[in-house]
Every structure is written in structure tokens, then in C-alpha cells.
């Protein structure tokens, strides 16, 4: 995970999208997702508008299409599920390429596919333009419980350390001719996992001591001003507002 100097999901840049305060972007993406979900699935044109909006954001943020498409692989399990629905669905059926498919099933599949894809792309854009740690600071500004934010930020910091420890344990196992061939080797792996857990737990204790030594009293000091101006909020609101307008139009136009 530590291949580059940046997180894999993050694309460094200084576009207007990158520069927006993280809390504005978090709210914008959440509101956009709500607007997309609220759009009736029969209004195909509305989904085209949503997709167009995201395309514009991606262009402004200079996030290449290939980058987004590669990241969209995470959606595959949902796609597989969506593909199955028309086949196993009930109700009126129609012939497509020689297969008998359920019509309501096809609508359901389209609904899942379109809405999930739009949500996923919006999240990819958020992650590509916001550093993970900025995201956490933004979440903290949005009144997410500080304890959750602290847990997430420690996860971020120690992920590499723990993965590295895991790698060293694997090397140590393999240096002594261990090969995980089948289920019979599972106890060895389980014990490694247990050892890793205990080591991480002990590290957690040591980190806590180090924090206490520097005056930690239960709250992370806020050292950076992350306040957003009205202009920032206005900028961030453009995407969800247009999406919401589209959703409202798609309901009122028949």
C-alpha cells in the first residue's frame, strides 16, 4: 500500500475541486447520492444528466477517465448481482438475444446499476481530489464523533506498519520452508494472525503512552484552520443542486 508517496486513491493536483475544503466535498457527494437515488428509474434522460454532471466535475478536477474506470472495479460484485435479477425475476417476460428475461427484473437491474455507478464515480472523484487525512479532518468538522475520527486516522497511520509486520512474518514463515498449500496449513496462518493482533495491541498501548507523554488528554488538538467560506459552500453546492433539480424535474415531467 505504500508504493507511492500518496495514497493510491488520491491524485495530487491543485484544481478548484482539490482546493475545496473537505467538509464541503463530503456534504456535496452525500447530497448528490441522495438526489440520484431519488430519481425515478424510468427517466433515462435524468441519469444521463447526472452522468454528465460527474463528467464535468472529473474534467475540472483533471481526473482521467481511465483512472475512474480502473477504480470502478470495486463495483463488480453489484454488477454480477444486477445481471442475475432479470434472469431469476418474475412478472412479464420478454425475449432478448434468445433469452427470456423478466421486464421488472430488467428495470430493477438498471436501477441498481445506474445508481450504484453514479454513487461510486462520485466517491472516486471525492477520494481522488481529497487526501485521506483531509477527509478525516472534514468529517471531524461535520461533527462526526472525534473518537471515530481518531480511530480512522490511526488506522491510516499504522496500516503500512502493520502490513509491513505481516510481510515480515510471512517471510519468516517461508524462510523456514512453510508453504500454504491447503486447509491443513490454516492453524499456522491463524496463529500468525493472532500474533499480529497481539503485537498491534501492544503497539497501541505504547502509542498511547507516547501520546500521554506529550500531554494528550483525550482530544486531538485542532492545529489547522479548515473553515469553509460561503463561496466554498456555494461552489460545492453546484453539483448536488443541479442533480436535485434534475431529480425534481424527472418527477414532475411525465
Amino acid at each position: 500500500m505504500s508504493a507511492g508517496h500518496h495514497h493510491r486513491l488520491y491524485l495530487p493536483g491543485d484544481t478548484p475541486v482539490h482546493l475545496l475544503p473537505p467538509q464541503c466535498k463530503l456534504v456535496a457527494v452525500a447530497a448528490f447520492a441522495v438526489a440520484v437515488v431519488a430519481t425515478p428509474r424510468e427517466r433515462l434522460w435524468a441519469f444521463a444528466v447526472h452522468a454528465l454532471l460527474l463528467t464535468v466535475v472529473a474534467a475540472v478536477a483533471r481526473v482521467p477517465a481511465g483512472f475512474i474506470l480502473r477504480r470502478m472495479v470495486i463495483e463488480v460484485p453489484f454488477v454480477l448481482f444486477a445481471v442475475a435479477i432479470p434472469i431469476i425475476g418474475t412478472g412479464a417476460r420478454t425475449e432478448v438475444l434468445g433469452m427470456s428475461l423478466s421486464v421488472p427484473g430488467m428495470w430493477a437491474a438498471w436501477n441498481i446499476l445506474a445508481k450504484a455507478s453514479l454513487g461510486v464515480v462520485a466517491s472516486i472523484l471525492l477520494a481522488a481530489t481529497t487526501e485521506p487525512r483531509a477527509m478525516l479532518l472534514g468529517a471531524e468538522r461535520l461533527r462526526l464523533p472525534p473518537l471515530l475520527v481518531q480511530i480512522a486516522s490511526f488506522m491510516l497511520r499504522y496500516m503500512d506498519v502493520i502490513l509491513d509486520q505481516m510481510r515480515r512474518m510471512r517471510v519468516a514463515r517461508e524462510s523456514r520452508a512453510f508453504v500454504a498449500r491447503d486447509l491443513r496449513q490454516a492453524p499456522v496462518l491463524a496463529r500468525s494472525a493472532g500474533a499480529l493482533f497481539i503485537r498491534s495491541y501492544e503497539r497501541g498501548e505504547r502509542v498511547h503512552l507516547a501520546m500521554l507523554s506529550r500531554g494528550y488528554t483525550g482530544e486531538m488538538p485542532i492545529t489547522r484552520d479548515l473553515s469553509a467560506s460561503g463561496r466554498d459552500w456555494g461552489m460545492a453546492a453546484v453539483l448536488p443542486c443541479l442533480a436535485a433539480a434534475t431529480a425534481v424535474l424527472s418527477w414532475s415531467l411525465t
Partner: protein, 252 residues
Amino acid sequence: MTGTGAPPSLRVSRLAYAYPDGTQALFGVDLTIRRGERVALLGPNGAGKTTLVMHLNGILTAGHGTVEVAGLPVRKDTLLEIRRRVGLVFQDPDDQLFMPTVRDDVAFGPANLGVRGDELDRRVRDALTRVGMLDVIDRPPHHLSFGQRRRVAVATVLAMEPEILVLDEPSSNLDPASRRELADILKNLDVTVLMVTHDLPYALELCERSLILSDGVIAADGPTRSLLADADLLAAHRLELPYGFAVPALQQ
């Protein structure tokens, strides 16, 4: 061994401590470190060095006896000020550097003390400059080399402007160049230093005076050079100079 004028940076008297499971780790430790001194605390593994260090900033509280930092006793109500005065540098920099960037990590201590804005920024830059690490200020700690991380760990406590810097095994796991660089940095700090180690040449290089902690008591206290020249004393406390280091060379 009383300081003149200002109270000593550190005064520990008759400190005893037993772990909750009953294991007695310290049996009455007495030591005084005057302002500006650099002192090595030597001792074999299991001598109680880490336990003693944990008392210096109140992470462990004394079962018996007292610890005073620049005249201020370590008590529940003085903890925050004690932790400002005692800068503890842990052995594993990955334990010490827990924030996402070097800047945030160095700012953590002073920010907990209520320092904000330009003054905070000044302290962070100043501390990083003193350890020669200003150019990594925006890097995540886990992308630094081990030697760099240890230096940043020193900066994290320097930023709190401590009365005394306590280093736990500062030379462990460092390659020879990083070890020398760290020594140069420590020599140039004008702050009281207590260095816990069993790296005897490092103690000799950096500290005029040494204490030997053995079986939970201070077994010897004197100039590093003469302690290290006393082969019987070292042997009695499971301390050894590395192969090739001869005693006469220390006696000049």
C-alpha cells in the same frame, strides 16, 4: 550533589515501585541531575531502566518516594506541566510518531499545551531545524528512514521546550552514520539530557557522567570514563564494552 541557585532539572529520591502483579522493579532509587548536564543511565536488560523512565513524567506513579522536575513534584495535579518539562523519546519511533504528517506530529505536544497559530508554527519549524529535519515537514512519518524518524521523534519533544530530555536507547537500530548524526545533534542541544542505554561507547561519547542502575537501585554514579574503566564494576552489573574496546584506551 546539590545544584547551586536553580533547582536541579531532576531529583529522584528513594523511589520504589512494584508492578501490580507484585514484581518489585525499583528498590529505592536516588539520583540528581543538575541543569545542563548530560547523564547516561546504564544498566542491563531488566534492571528497571524503563520503569524508572516511566516515573519521570508520571506515566507510572511512585509506590514510594518522590520525583521532582525543576523543583516541581510529580503528582496528579501537576501532570500536564510535568509532561511539558520532561520530553520522553521512546525507543521505537513508530510508537512516537502517530500523526499523519511530520508537521502534525511535532505540533501535537505544544498544541496540547494550548500553543496555537504563528507561535505553534515557529515551535514546529524551530524543533525540526534543531534536528536538521525541516525539509521533511510535510512528509508522512512512515516514508522516512529509521534514522530520520528517530530525529523527528526528538523534535516532537523539543517542540515542547522541555527542561530535560529523556532518551530511551537512542542509538538502537541506527546505522553508524545515523548514529553519529544523532550524536552531533544531541551534543549541540542546550538542554539537560538523560540517556538510557546499554551502548557504552555512545554513553562515553555523549555523557560526562553516568549512573548504573542494577537490580532496581543506583549501583554506581560517577564520571563515565572512570566507570567504564572499572572492568569489575561493569562485569558485576552485566555491562560490557564491545569487543576491541580496551580499558587503557579510556584512561589516557
